[in-house]
Amino acid sequence: MGSSEFYGIATLGYITAMIVYITYLVVKIEGIGKFATSITVLSFVSQTIAFMLRWVEAVQAGSRSLWRPPISDLYESIIFFVWCLILGYLIIEFKYKNRSLGAFVTPIAGLALAFIEMSGMSKSIEPLVPALQSNWLLAHVTMSFVAYSTFALSFATGLMYLIVNTGKKTEPAYIFWTVTLSILVVLLVAMGIDFLSFRVMASSQQEFIKSYLLKASFANPSTGIAVLSWVIAIGFTLIVWNYGYALKKILLSFNLTPGILDEITYKAIAIGFPVFTLGGLIFGAIWADQAWGVYWSWDPKETWTLITWFCYAFYLHARFMRGWRGNKVAIAAVLGFVAVIFTYLGVNLLLSGLHSYGEM
């Protein structure tokens, strides 16, 4: 078996774990929770093996040197992100002895993996162009993704904080979390439908190569289906908004107090922020300086990295200087991760799409 088989097992495992964690959250049977953890651990092991194998395969194919772990293109970096995220999650589950968080973290992993499948990105091991053969870049990418995964964790706990700490339907924080959670779920489901309708049913090779992200729903060529998708999405959001308090009851029954959630959110950011500053900004600048002779050039990626940095700097200052503990900082933590996603994917997909003459 090669790396892609092990990656396949891990992907399938994480998606199963996601479903089992959510089931556990609803039915609260201890055995199901343990089952979810076991699947996650096994998938994690499988992914680790796949990572090693891909490294070996790249070296054997002669396209990479021994000192280049497989974290250098879009596919590899998203996989690495999922790996860090699951590792971080397992540590938290072990430390806080609470599995309910899994139902919020595994969907993020699921989204990332679904995105790989849907966007039609290349999974083959490509040789590196000269600019990418740098140790600074290696440190930059590794640390960025470690930081991104801690930010993803803080996103999950920040969202959970808002769930347990709000009650009134008219409260802005309540509306904020219901909408955010709905978007997350809708995206996940839309990608799932994409997967079924294109991966399983697509016949021509052409369709595989072209990106089919959200082509089955929002971006469907048929206006009717696209409009219907929006109607369903808005309807779903309204349902979440109307029955959101049920989720609060569930989370509270798992002994998740706002205090614990605020603490985990803060701890994740307190680790992520320095790592992100050093790896994402400083090492990135040093690498750019070595490779291009400019440490900062305000390109969209750099600028969005800075915007993300400002988001989390704001979170930290708000928490310490203004003593904000509560919904406001939790919202900042959630929005910070939205900025992270945009830095990584939005810049590549949307902005490069805007700047090219052709369609995305």
Partner: protein
């Protein structure tokens, strides 16, 4: 704050308060972030046509031209250099400096203040506390207590009064300054950037193999900028991944010449530049330049092993040493490819797969002709066992160099270093304080009181205190 108090403030006080407020920081954070977003949507310094197209995609064809005009007049086409973005950055810096000055003296005082012994009645009011009773007289416990405190990593001071001994110590107080080190580092980086903008040079130089230049060309307007020395490109080479047209590495061999003497010789590649006289030369691109004077460098090797290096041009001839076999270079392609029927064509002008066609004759009699490919040594062997190696086609490529002079870059690097240290101490160094009092308990026993505080990572410090407790109880 009531009005009477506010009116006593001078204008300067008010300006100071304005800049020292964390609210202003939040506003500036948002302003910079939001305006930056616009800068990532509109391509900076890009072609007008392209940006017009972007705006058309976003707002439709009817609105786009007027939006374009408005954004252009506001400087959005080059917004990171616009006066208002500079103004945001200046405000940001002023806010950062004044916020830090406002809060730093108190913090410094707190950090410098030596720790004092704790009055006994206050021990109970600390968040981390413990009380141990041991059936040994205090005098017999002093040494082991001192050792136990040392074992958990504290060098405690000691004070004795009325039969009570107190040990007290603190660690990691400097961690509280980490946030100010981080602020300072941001100021240094901005300062370095300003120096770079005003006193630096950012340019390029396309230097063909064999050429020398005394100037580089500015990125803005392309004006010639004298370097004060000359730079020569001796050779340039691209290495490809096996059987692929993807470059693995590209290198230039450069020479720095000053006052007629070669002062530096270095091979540069991507990620490893040449530095001389305040200038840095980065390998950034390459290209081909048609040159009738280009030289083919070949190595002719006879079956018996005799070798000869050949330098010749198109239509040039050479003989294989020790034989009467003569070769003539009849054709050249920078990127040769074969069609299915065996005919050839050139697929680009970038020297991705250079090849020469050679016709061979033996004492005037025509033998055969064929293509020799630089990247494919298997094409170098001739039927009789002779061999012609295609080493280089020299003089036909130029190396694209990015030339930069940035007298502020060391400040930026220093800032980065301080920022790393600052963030480390701000997030990972905790300020720990510990007090341990030893007092008599009854006739032959003693009581040990422990109090401690820490500003972050409380769990691990609590484990430390537990360790102290267990060491003491074991000894008793």
């Amino acid at each position: 704050m009531d009005n009477s108090k506010a009116s006593k403030k001078t204008i300067i006080d008010r300006i100071w308060d304005f800049f020292a407020s964390i609210k202003l920081a939040a506003v500036i954070f948002s302003l910079i972030a939001l305006s930056s977003i616009i800068g990532t949507i509109i391509e900076q310094g890009g072609e007008a046509e392209k940006n017009l197209q972007v705006l058309t995609k976003l707002f439709g064809a009817s609105l786009a031209p007027s939006i374009y005009r408005i954004s252009e007049s506001l400087g959005f086409m080059d917004m990171y250099h616009s006066w208002w973005f500079m103004f945001f950055l200046v405000m940001f810096t002023a806010n950062l400096v004044i916020c830090s000055i406002e809060r730093l003296p108190n913090r410094l005082k707190a950090v410098r203040q030596p720790l004092k012994p704790l009055p006994l009645e206050k021990f109970g009011s600390y968040a981390i506390k413990n009380e141990i009773r041991i059936k040994t007289e205090p005098s017999g416990l002093k040494d082991s207590l001192r050792n136990a405190i040392k074992q958990i990593g504290f060098n405690a001071r000691e004070v004795s009064e009325n039969g009570t001994t107190q040990f007290y110590s603190q660690k990691g107080a400097f961690g509280r300054l980490g946030v100010y080190a981080t602020h300072l580092s941001i100021i240094l980086i901005l300062l370095g950037a300003v120096i770079g903008v005003f006193f630096g040079f950012n340019g390029f130089l396309n230097l063909p193999e064999g050429y020398t230049s005394e100037v580089a060309y500015s990125r803005k307007g392309g004006t010639a900028h004298p370097l004060g020395f000359s730079i020569k490109c001796i050779d340039f080479d691209v290495e490809y991944y096996k059987d692929k047209d993807m470059p693995k590495d590209y290198k230039s061999w450069l020479e720095v010449i000053k006052d007629g003497r070669i002062v530096k010789k270095q091979m540069i590649e991507v990620n490893s530049p040449l530095r001389y006289g305040g200038y840095t030369f980065y390998q950034s691109s390459y290209g081909m330049m048609p040159n009738p004077q280009g030289v083919f460098i070949l190595k002719a090797i006879s079956k018996s092993g005799k070798e000869k290096i050949v330098n010749t041009g198109l239509n040039g001839t050479f003989t294989i040493p020790g034989t009467k076999i003569k070769g003539e270079i009849t054709d050249f392609s920078p990127a040769l490819a074969f069609r299915k029927d065996g005919s050839t064509f050139t697929y680009n002008q970038m020297m991705t797969n250079p090849a020469i066609k050679i016709s061979f004759t033996n004492s005037g009699k025509k033998l055969y002709s064929g293509w020799l490919l630089k990247r494919y040594p298997q094409t170098w062997d001739l039927p009789e066992g002779n061999r012609v190696e295609f080493i280089d086609y020299w003089g036909a490529q130029y190396t694209g160099l990015q030339v930069r002079k940035d007298p502020g870059v060391w400040l930026v690097y220093l800032g980065c270093l301080i920022m790393s240290a600052g963030l480390y101490s701000a997030f990972f160094v905790s300020h720990k304080k510990i007090w341990v009092a030893l007092l008599p308990d009854g006739k032959k026993g003693s009581k040990i009181l422990i109090a401690a505080t820490v500003n972050k990572n409380r769990l691990s410090f609590e484990r430390n205190i537990d360790k102290l407790t267990s060491i003491l109880t074991k000894q008793a």
